[in-house]
């Protein structure tokens, strides 16, 4: 895997250059992303914030290979993904990317253990038992492994989702409002887990959120407004981040 060095010398896992994304055509066309160039070094925890319609979700979708940019390039783990076909993209997501969504992360027909192992099952790979046990203990759901999502609380479900995102040791985990639907206690638990994954497992995490408190768990904050990056720097405290959002919103 050949990674281009990022500005501070750590190789970039995700690298986007000159991203444009336009929805619709003619007069009704909307530019969701305008000339976005950004990279995410390995082992970093980045939060992407921005008001509704700022393009933050679109950016994540494009970076994760869920959507294709109108122009520009994205490299994930050294692979140029904007030219990949559906099958190759599917493989990339399966092997290199972990996902955590706001809701509906789990398959209701599978129990917690099966849900965690789902990415490996899809890929037809044998699970690494040691890694699985470590993850289960880390997210603290050992006593819930045989339960189905309907029998678990929202926080527990989201913790299962974190374990699932990490099980295949992806190059990067994309989290889309992972704590958006949770009470503050569960929300803190899930964000702590992501922090933990970065610190202890060296996991790269990119999180989209509109919650300044959630963003404060990251070590880098990107702010998008009208499809452009308007801020890229150290993570800010909740208050600072709120002020920043006010200024761009």
């Amino acid at each position: 895997m050949e990674l281009s060095p990022s500005h501070d010398g750590v190789p970039a896992i995700v690298e986007a250059v000159g991203l444009h994304k336009r929805f619709g055509e003619g007069e009704v066309a909307v530019d969701a992303l305008t000339d976005v160039t950004v990279d995410f070094p390995a082992g970093g925890f980045a939060a992407i914030m921005g008001p509704s319609g700022s393009g933050k979700s679109t950016l994540m979708h494009v970076l994760a290979g869920l959507d294709t940019p109108t122009s520009g390039t994205v490299r994930v783990a050294g692979v140029e993904i904007t030219t990949l076909n559906d099958r190759e993209l599917t493989h990339l997501r399966r092997e290199r990317i972990g996902f955590i969504f706001q809701t509906f992360n789990l398959l209701p027909v599978l129990n917690a253990e099966e849900n965690i192992l789902l990415p490996l099952s899809i890929a037809g790979r044998k699970p690494d038992r040691e890694w699985f046990d470590r993850l289960v203990d880390t997210v603290g759901i050992r006593d819930r492994l045989a339960h189905r999502p309907a029998e678990m609380s929202g926080g527990q479900q989201q913790r299962v989702a974190v374990a699932r995102a990490l099980i295949s040791r992806p190059s990067v985990v994309f989290a889309d409002e992972p704590s958006g639907n949770l009470d503050s206690k569960s929300s803190g638990d899930v964000l702590d887990l992501l922090r933990h994954a970065v610190d202890d497992f060296g996991q790269t995490v990119v999180m989209v959120t509109h919650d300044a408190h959630a963003a404060s768990f990251a070590d880098r904050l990107l702010v998008l407004a009208d499809g452009r990056i308007v801020h890229d720097g150290e993570a800010l405290s909740t208050e600072q981040a709120l002020d920043l959002m006010k200024s761009v919103g």
Binding site: R93, F99, F101, V109, I122
Partner: protein, 857 residues
């Protein structure tokens, strides 16, 4: 409100189309059945009218034993015709002959008639003749023949060529002198006809000096009715006298009665298809109503009344039923043609000149189509009505519990049974009962499923899905998920599967019964037949007999030790309403080739059969209170009573050769007018083999009786089996329609389920599930559903078959047999049906736009 319904309709085109097809297919079979039978009726009506041209009065033998039993010895003689001629007002009277026979080429091969019968006819005076030469002329000498145009064209026959015409005597060759066509341009219902001179026709038919009818023309000034009365007065009661118009009407009504059976037979399949369609409509509406609970809640919040919500769903089913029934009705015209072709393929040609679309067909088809749809859509509509306004506010609304429970299920069984009964009362009621029982079982099962409260795992469906999941589980996660998904909504899966169950249960039932019948006949032949060869008419449906002369000629073949002729006749016990089966045997030779199971008497008893002696079966003896030494008066087809003295009682069953009564061959000829034999049993001299004797027998048969053939015991069994199989295939084809309808149901349910799982599929795709895996998952889910339907169908079909045979056929010698191979094939077919049904839904699921799916609610 209607505008809203219409808009919703257009937005859900695929689903509407799929659901409408479910009802349209059943309606098309129903409409097709009516159109076909009406068309046949209409064609024959024209034919009969043409045939009665110039006939002011027609004299025919009285059919004392019902319209389908005709004495082989006609009471109409030259003397009787002379008596008619002497009646004042008669301008002309002539005897006519029109009897089933065989027309063959000079190699002894039957001319193809597309399955229609072939007739031997006699020429009649010009004013009565319904045939007209298109080339050549009518036969004038005993060696000449005229043949119908259709057959001549099909076989490329020309004037001057030779053909063989065979009936109840030694077959002769004839030179074609004319090509004729039936008056008015109609073909005679696809039948072939060979016209001979009257004397030669009588010889061929084997009834010299006798005619099938007398055609009479009146002098001017005498009405047919007046003439009829005068002729009636001078003729015995063994003949009927009708005016030409009456005769045509009688022929038409006889035909209609016979067609009634065909119509009922086909309508059963239409009802089955409609019933399956009803399942699908019920299921589709249930699912969509559940999916639209919020919409209904919103309507209620905005001030919509419960009645309005109910009406909106009912309008939808009404509209759907209207579309489905109309499409079905139009497709019915094509279906009538397809049925016609189907029967042709199975050897029954029916005339189809001018499609007849009666108002009755239109009304019944639309009414039944719309009725079934609305009825099936009613329970879901009632549920929609009960959605509370609050549902609009809630996430993941639960619908109020269904109103229908066991009581509802029973009500529906009654409705369906009543619907079926209206047309089946006179038909094969047994099948009707079986269908009703099956329906009841499924509905009760469903009612049980629905009551809820039971732990999920206790349901039948999950248990079955688990068991069947083995088939797909080895495929990894896609198989596992398919298995789980099929258990999510056990009720839904059950109903979807049940629609397939109906068709497959009937297929299984028929297959098991047919196998049993084959085994029964097999066993009966093995146990009873002690000869070497069986000689019979080579015509497929075994209705025509063989000339009595065959037996005598067979005895002269080298290597043949003994021949015993067997004939079948019918009679009616005095005071009885149904006909009795009578077997006629040759007492001296019969026991040497047939093992009789005596209840009272022995083979020595056969000697007493001479004269008026008769043997009764045990069952017949007890139902008619007969004892050895007692007598029974039996009405023969000739119109005379014959007094039979019971000399012995046998323990025979229905599958065997001996009928209710067994009499001597001589008595059958003398008293029952039975000239032809049905079969000849042949035994060889000691040491002779099939290879030595059968070719010699066949050579003799080919030369003198080309319409007959010989079969060894094994060949006979094989032939019987293939005849049963042929009927079986016809039934399979008709049931296939129901299976196709249920496929649409599976497609529909899958599409709706996929719609519900949009988010989930989006998530799965995001985390790396490939399109192929999604397709696989849907396909497996479909296969599981189909197999649940298949397993239920097999079980219900086998159980129904066992019930029917033990209840209705016990003691009849029925041998229970199970076509394991066929049943396994059925399961494979069910699985393949699942794969097939999954095509469209799987493609849809795989093509799902991931981002939209993730964003959807």
């Amino acid at each position: 409100m209607l505008a809203l319904v219409l808009r919703g309709f257009l937005q859900r085109k695929v689903r509407v189309a799929l659901t409408a097809v479910a009802i349209a297919l059943g309606v098309s079979l129903m409409a097709g059945t009516y159109i076909l039978t009406d068309t046949i009726n209409g064609s024959f009506g024209t034919i009969f009218k043409t045939a009665s041209k110039g006939h002011d009065v027609v004299v025919t033998p009285t059919q004392t034993l019902g319209r389908n039993v005709r004495s082989q010895t006609s009471p109409i003689t030259e003397a009787m015709i002379a008596r008619v001629r002497a009646v004042p007002g008669v301008a002309e009277a002539a005897g006519g002959i029109f009897t089933p026979g065989a027309i063959l080429d000079t190699h002894g091969k039957r001319l193809s008639t597309g399955g229609a019968p072939a007739f031997v006819a006699a020429t009649v005076p010009a004013r009565f003749e319904s045939f007209a030469p298109v080339a050549g002329r009518f036969p004038a000498s005993p060696t000449e023949v005229a043949i119908d145009q259709a057959t001549a064209q099909r076989e490329g026959l020309r004037i001057g060529q030779q053909i063989i015409v065979a009936g109840s005597s030694v077959a002769h060759r004839y030179t074609i002198v004319g090509i004729v066509r039936f008056g008015g341009g109609e073909s005679f219902g696809g039948a072939a006809a060979a016209l001979l001179t009257p004397e030669e026709a009588q010889r061929v038919v084997g009834d010299p000096g006798h005619f099938d009818e007398i055609d009479v023309a009146a002098v001017s000034g005498v009405t047919p009715e007046q003439l009829r009365t005068r002729i009636r007065a001078v003729l015995p009661s063994t003949v009927d006298v009708r005016t030409g118009a009456q005769q045509a009407a009688k022929n038409t009504s006889d035909l209609e009665a016979n067609l009634g059976f065909l119509r009922t037979f086909l309508l059963i399949f239409a009802y089955v298809a409609l019933f399956v369609g009803a399942f699908i409509i019920f299921n589709t509406f249930s699912i969509t109503v559940a999916q639209r609970a919020r919409e209904f809640g919103l309507l209620r919040t905005l001030g919509g009344s419960r009645r309005q919500v109910l009406r909106s769903v009912l309008y939808e089913s009404l509209l759907l039923g209207g579309v489905g029934a109309t499409v079905g009705l139009l497709a019915g015209i094509g279906m009538a043609h397809a049925l016609d072709q189907l029967f042709k393929a199975f050897g029954a040609d029916i005339p189809d000149s001018g499609t007849v679309l009666q108002t009755r067909t239109i009304v019944v088809s639309l009414l039944v189509g719309v009725g079934v749809t609305v009825l099936a859509g009613l329970p879901p509509a009632l549920r929609a009505m009960r959605v509370p306004p609050l549902a609009a506010m809630r996430e993941g609304v639960q619908l109020p519990p269904r109103i229908l429970t066991r009581r509802g299920a029973i009500i529906r069984v009654v409705i369906v049974a009543a619907l079926v009964a209206t047309d089946i009362t006179k038909g094969p009621a047994l099948l009707g009962v079986a269908v009703a029982a099956l329906i009841g079982y499924i509905l009760l099962l469903r009612a049980r499923l629905r009551r809820g409260g039971l732990p999920r795992r206790a349901h039948v469906v999950p248990a079955l899905a688990r068991a069947i999941g083995v088939v797909v589980r080895w495929r990894g996660i896609t198989g596992r998920l398919a298995e789980e998904n099929s258990m999510r909504q056990p009720g839904r899966t059950m109903i979807t599967a049940a629609s397939l169950t109906v068709g497959l249960a009937l297929v299984t039932l028929v297959a098991v019964l047919a196998d049993g019948f084959k085994a029964s006949i097999d066993q009966a032949v093995s146990r009873s037949f002690a000869g070497n060869l069986i000689v019979e008419n080579s015509q497929e449906n075994r209705e025509q007999g063989i000339p009595a002369e065959v037996a005598a000629r067979l005895r002269a073949v080298p290597g043949v030790a003994s021949v015993t002729p067997i004939a079948f006749a019918v009679g009616r016990a005095k005071g009885g309403t149904s006909n009795s089966r009578i077997t006629a045997i040759e007492p001296a030779t019969f026991a040497s080739m047939y093992r009789i199971e005596w209840h009272q008497g022995s083979n020595a008893t056969l000697a007493q059969l001479d004269g008026s002696g008769a043997i009764a079966t045990k069952e017949y003896a007890s139902s008619h209170h007969l004892k050895v030494g007692g007598t029974i008066d039996v009405l023969a087809p000739t119109g005379h009573y014959v007094s039979l003295r019971i000399v012995g009682i046998v323990d025979e069953n229905a599958a065997n050769l001996l009928g209710d009564l067994t009499i001597s061959r001589a008595l059958a000829t003398a008293a029952f007018g039975q000239r032809e034999d049905a079969l000849d049993f042949v035994s060889y001299v000691p040491g002779a083999t099939d290879a030595q004797v059968q070719p010699a027998v066949d050579r003799m048969l080919a030369a003198a009786f080309p319409q007959t053939r010989s079969q060894t015991e094994a060949q006979f069994k094989q032939d019987t089996a293939s005849q049963v199989n042929s009927l079986l295939t016809l039934i399979y084809v008709l049931l296939a329609l129901s299976v196709i309808v249920s496929l649409f149901g599976i497609v529909n349910t899958l599409i709706l389920s996929i719609y519900e799982r949009t988010r989930e599929l989006g998530m799965m795709r995001a985390i790396g599930t490939s399109r192929r895996q999604v397709r696989q998952m849907i396909r497996y889910e479909s296969v599981i559903t189909a197999l649940i339907g298949g397993v239920f169908g097999l079980v219900i079909g086998v159980v129904a078959a066992v019930l029917i045979t033990t209840l209705a056929l016990s003691g009849s010698g029925y041998v229970q047999a199970y076509p394991i191979g066929t049943l396994l094939i059925l399961l494979v077919v069910a699985a393949l049906a699942g794969v097939f049904a999954a095509q469209l839904p799987a493609r849809r699921a795989a093509r799902l736009d991931m981002l939209e799916a993730l964003a959807s609610e």
